[in-house]
């Protein structure tokens, strides 16, 4: 990391994820802050990440179903040199986690609204929405909110 120059220039924003044909329904739903998962109708199970065929049976009948938005931290790390996302988190350490949703799929995200050093394996979390520049939202997680 260069120590010279305007610090603001060295503050990269998030990489905004591209959309593929296979993931378009997922990203569309995030515009309304709805979390949906691809389900294989043959296996009657969800899978992650979105793709054209089921990674269990190669079936191509995919259905998008709403997800609870709740889960638990499967694994995580705290980045102590927050250069990659300093536009989001400033100079503070931040947490990257693999979150296992209650539906049984695991996705990468950030755990926010909590001291990153306090995040633990097994901790319950629920979805938070961070706006992207084109109206979509990124799925983040925070401490689990009460039902209702």
């Amino acid at each position: 990391v260069s120590g010279t120059g305007d610090a603001r220039e060295a503050r990269p924003a998030r990489i905004e994820p591209p959309v593929t044909d296979a993931s378009e329904p997922f990203w569309s739903a995030t515009r309304e802050q709805r979390l949906v998962l691809p389900w294989c109708t043959a296996c009657d199970q969800p899978f992650w990440f979105p793709r054209e065929v089921c990674p269990r049976c190669l079936g191509s009948k995919i259905e998008w179903r709403p997800a609870s938005g709740r889960g638990a931290v499967y694994a995580h790390t705290v980045e102590h040199k927050p250069m990659m996302l300093s536009a989001v988190f400033g100079d503070a350490p931040y947490c990257i986690a693999l979150v296992e949703l209650d539906e049984g799929v695991r996705m990468m995200s950030n755990v926010v609204e909590i001291d990153p050093l306090a995040v633990a394996v097994g901790q319950r979390v629920s979805v938070r929405w961070e706006p992207l520049s084109d109206g979509r939202h990124l799925v983040l997680f925070g401490p689990e909110e009460p039902l209702g």
């Binding site: 998030r14 990440f49 980045e79 990257i96 990468m108 394996v121």
Partner: protein, 383 residues
């Protein structure tokens, strides 16, 4: 395939400064020439090439027309996979003499003003879509996640991980070609800056220039060459994900499969291994290898390493060149595992020689714990 092929020449280029003068194909050609000379062969003998990017480009540069070619790219384990494929090809009669080579100069490239050649972690999709937005540092972040989960599930401690770095540095102290040779303590590791928790700076491999090559031929032809043959006794490969978010179990690598298959082909058990060269991109990587290859049970890696069992004088000499943690690490370190295993089995290792070493394992780990490839090598007596 067991016993059909042997590694007959090796070379590596490293530097205590971490930088080399040559780069690119010129560096590849230099280590190939050295490995061939080591074997007592010439480039005219070579009829098979392996390269983790372009075996065709390499052959064209060298002016050879190989009848066996392999451009397999599985990250750091590519060279164990090349050895596996080369041994199978030689056993099947497809070719006689195979060369595999690796060179990378990320450190001096910076000085040259070149952008460092990096594995394309953000390659087109799906990583760009499902991982890149979250700011996970590559490749350290995924290993940190594995370490954190191992700690949460099995009570593994930062001190136990640090013990691997300490033991490996003890080996490096005995290797005059290692980049870092001064002894370190567990306290030093824990006091080094936290990177991606729970990994400290000294839990992480180096960034250096480096290059290496091996030459393999039939066991029969090997007997007439310059050096004692190092026989391929077994090989196995397995990958179970490409992105870390797709890894089925972050505390169990596909080394369980590659190791079991390689050991079965060789007819050995962990107790038969005199030297373990287990890819140490990070301390946690080496710990997972110990468990997944069966040197201890799942979850017991921390206790296994904490008393110096893998250090000089310990019951399982591991990473005797000083490893990726202290010897060299240009990005895809798997070639150096093979080179050191061969040198140990030939008895060429001076102060760090493991007395009477007859069986050595080179266990490569590619990308983010993604592809494991295990090579069991032995002396002629062990074959």
């Amino acid at each position: 395939m067991r016993g059909a092929a042997a590694i007959v020449g090796v070379a590596d280029a490293v530097s205590p400064t971490g930088e080399l003068d040559l780069t690119g194909r010129a560096l590849e050609a230099a280590v190939i020439a050295e490995a061939l000379a080591d074997a007592g062969l010439t480039i005219d003998d070579v009829d098979g090439v392996c390269h983790s990017n372009s075996s065709m480009g390499l052959a064209e540069y060298l002016g050879i027309h190989p009848r066996f070619t392999d451009s397999t790219m599985t990250g750091g384990s590519s060279y164990e996979v090349h050895a596996e494929h080369a041994a199978a090809a030689i056993a099947a009669g497809l070719c006689d003499v195979v060369v595999s080579v690796y060179a990378s100069t990320p450190r001096s490239d910076r000085r040259r003003g070149l952008s460092p050649m990096r594995p394309n972690f953000f390659g087109p999709n799906p990583m760009l879509e499902w991982e890149a937005p979250f700011g996970l540092r590559m490749p350290m972040g995924p290993y940190a996640m594995a370490a954190g989960r191992h700690m949460a599930l099995f009570g593994t401690t930062a001190e136990q991980l640090a013990a691997i770095a300490v033991s490996t540095r003890e080996w490096a102290a005995r290797n005059p070609r290692a980049r870092y040779r001064d002894p370190i303590t567990v306290e030093d590791v824990l006091a080094s800056p936290m990177q991606c928790s729970p990994l400290h700076l000294l839990d992480c491999c180096l960034v250096t220039d480096g290059a290496g090559a091996f030459v393999m031929t039939s066991a029969e032809r090997a007997r007439d060459l310059a050096r004692p043959p190092v026989v391929v006794l077994g090989a196995g490969t397995c990958h179970d994900h490409s992105m870390i978010s797709q890894m089925p179990d972050l505390t169990t690598t596909p080394g369980v499969v590659s190791g079991a298959n390689a050991f079965a082909m060789a007819g050995i058990t962990p107790g038969d291994v005199d030297v373990l060269m287990g890819y140490d991109s990070f301390t946690i990587t080496a710990l997972l290898h110990l468990e997944d290859l069966g040197f201890c049970a799942k979850g017991e890696g921390g206790a296994f390493v904490e008393d110096g069992r893998t250090a000089p004088g310990g019951s399982l000499p591991m990473n005797t060149n000083g490893g990726g943690l202290s010897y060299t690490h240009p990005g895809a370190y798997g070639m150096f595992l093979i080179v050191e295993a061969v040198r140990q089995l030939r008895g060429e290792c001076g102060d760090r020689q493991v007395p009477g070493a007859e069986v050595a394992v080179a266990h490569g780990s590619g990308m983010v714990l993604s592809c494991m490839s295990t090579l069991v090598l032995g002396t002629e007596a062990a074959a």
